[in-house]
Amino acid sequence: MQTMHHIATILGERGWDCCPEEFAFFWESDMIDVTTKKPLYVSTDGDATPYIMVPVQQIDDIRALLDANSISYWVDEEAISVDGKPEVTVINLRHGVNPRSVQQILDRAP
């Protein structure tokens, strides 16, 4: 919260009129992996099918988001837990889906 106050002050000095709560909204707009606290991202290395590694507990939310945006995908039918940590699965994007568009959808999700 202190950091957000400080940043809000700096933005206020530059003519951006916002309160910490509004700034918190901007700060938290990326869809976050609830287990790692890092933003979810679309992996696009090489010529492989782009994919998103997702905690199983968030899979329904992400599927709803992709469905709402008419994104074609399939979900791995295994969920893997390592060292007792939450299970993780993988969403695979179908041919023709633009991974950048999907990343933007994740980044803008509330």
């Binding site: 090489g46 099918t49 295994e78 390592v82 695979n92």
Partner: protein, 231 residues
Amino acid sequence: MALADEIKKLRDDSLAALDEAHNYYSHTKSAWRLLQQFLRQGRKVTIRNLATGSTVEEHELPALAQKYVTGYLTSATFQHFVSLFEDFVFGFLRAWLIEDPRSLSKKQLTFGTVLESSDRIEIVRTVVERELVDLAYDRVDAWFKYLEKTAKLGCPTQGQIEQLAEIKASRDVLVHNRGAANAKYVEKSKGFARFREGETLEIPEQYHRESWQLIRQVVTDIANAGIGKLP
């Protein structure tokens, strides 16, 4: 071995092989997914292929893992499911026709073939084998027309036959056309075609599993129907 026992063994062996193949797929995929998770934790890995001389490091592995899982592994196991299915269908027909070859009574043989055979059963096997080799090159719906004419089982359903035709057509595209759907694929698949000519064939996981399930179901239905007809 009595025909009913032979069909039971064929069914059980085929189902066991299908299950093993799906486990191989699932476990191998999981191993690659585990590696992807480990690499996200910042582990360092180098893999050197002594046969090709190539070396890959941790930053290259996640993409390779994804390619292998969604490409090679899925395609190879899918093809194996189809291969197991073909083995079952032709194993069933072989056993059935050897037991009762009367439908082949008008087939012709050279006398040389008869002289080379040690007994009647070997002659029957030779004729049956030739019949099935010809049938194997025909379309999937022709296989089942022949099966129905021969054994009169009343299964699989027309819908199942058409789905199997699309599965076999997909397999043929992967093996013979580098994964690009062609006019033959579209024509053989009819209403079940998943791709248009020129599109790259995909094997998403749900389709991979549903194909395996359908094959498993049809193997069970054909075998049980056949056993049910025998004394």
